[in-house]
């Protein structure tokens, strides 16, 4: 057998061996750990560089000319408030108590279901609770009495 035949046989044998593509177990994980380490080192470097840079910028405390006068002008302007503004603020504050009184009065009015007879005295001295029970027609008559009298003057 010539030397070239031996070479060919060897090559044939070598080619016949199936390719083993299997890597060691956990190999990819091992590589990824190294990749991540390198990546984090690079990114840490970038953000550390940025922070070092930002920390070394001296603080600019420059103040605009007469800035304090501007603020004082605003402050003094508030101090001398428009009386109408104060009045409207007070009115707004009165809204809540007024609504409260209105609701309370309405509730009291609706809860008065007991009818009042004409024979009932206007003011009972024996039972003061009855004093609140005033007939509406009587009340109206009393209220408009002065206007009724006015008609007779004509």
């Amino acid at each position: 057998m010539s030397a070239s035949d031996k070479d060919n046989k060897f090559l044939k044998l070598a080619k016949a061996i199936p390719l083993n593509e299997q890597g060691p177990s956990g190999f990819s994980k091992r590589i990824m750990v190294k990749v991540r380490e390198q990546n984090s080192r690079e990114t840490t470097m970038a953000d550390e560089r940025f922070l070092r840079f930002a920390r070394n910028i001296s603080e600019n405390q420059h103040t605009p000319y007469k800035f304090e006068k501007r603020i004082m002008a605003l402050v003094l302007d508030w101090k001398t408030e428009n009386p109408f503004t104060v009045w409207s603020r007070v009115l707004w504050r009165a809204v809540a108590p007024c609504i409260g009184i209105m609701v309370l009065t309405a509730l009291i009015a609706f809860n008065q279901d007991a009818p009042i007879t004409d024979s009932q005295p206007w003011l009972s001295m024996d039972n003061p609770e009855e004093n609140f029970e005033i007939d509406t027609t009587d009340f109206e008559t009393v209220m408009l009495a002065s206007f009724d009298d006015l008609e007779y003057t004509w």
């Binding site: 970038a46 953000d47 940025f50 922070l51 930002a54 001296s58 405390q61 103040t63 603020i71 003094l76």
Partner: protein
């Protein structure tokens, strides 16, 4: 540059004394407080706002709010703490209001004259206003990409060197919230820096 008026040491009243005087009706004394604190407040506001008119607006809001709320200041804690807390919260509110207008594409924030990476390596000289301005532009471009809460925490923790407890006291947020925001801030900042560097590499 406007220098702050410095009163002779004998005439210096404490913050609390000035506050008491203002509350009692001596409104002009409030100017003393403004003069005392305005450099610090301008310095702080410039960390959060790039535009000078925004800085002035927020500082003005801080002082006017302080005047309005002066009566609610209890003399149990130093005025400085109360005032700084109010200032930080006002800055945070202003940042939140501006959040809508803030979004900008990364490419819009890249510089034409100099690469981003180069600027990061050149720490500016404090005597060079132009370099300082450029540096501030870069810092604001990154900080503008971070959420408002995280930005407040990052600025105070990393740039001013404050502790978590101090930040919690200044902001009124719980310690755990500050810790979460600090972690998030670093993550967001890292992502923003990377985005800028990568975008520049591609161009």
């Amino acid at each position: 540059m406007e220098s702050t008026e410095i009163l002779p040491s004998d005439d210096l009243r404490s913050d609390e004394e000035i506050v008491a005087a203002v509350v009692e009706g001596e409104v002009d004394s409030f100017e003393e407080l403004i003069l005392r604190y305005q450099p610090r407040i301008f310095g702080m506001a410039r960390k959060y706002f790039r535009n000078e008119s925004d800085v002035e607006d927020v500082v003005q809001t801080i002082f006017t709010k302080t005047f309005q709320k002066l009566r609610s200041f209890k003399q149990t804690a130093p005025f400085e703490h109360w005032f700084m807390r109010l200032s930080v919260n006002t800055c945070y509110d202003a940042l939140r209001r501006r959040a809508k207008h803030r979004e900008q594409a990364v490419t819009d924030l890249l510089f034409e004259d100099e690469s981003w990476a180069n600027r990061l390596d050149n720490i500016p000289d404090s005597d060079d206003p132009e370099a300082l301005d450029k540096a501030s532009e870069l810092v604001h471009s990154v900080m503008g990409q971070i959420s408002d809460k995280a930005r407040i925490v990052l600025t105070m923790q990393e740039l001013e060197g404050r502790s978590i407890k101090e930040i919690s006291e200044l902001t009124g947020w719980s310690i755990s919230l500050v810790k979460v925001q600090a972690f998030r801030a670093r993550k967001e900042m890292r992502a923003a820096v990377e985005r800028f560097l990568k975008k520049e590499e591609k161009l």
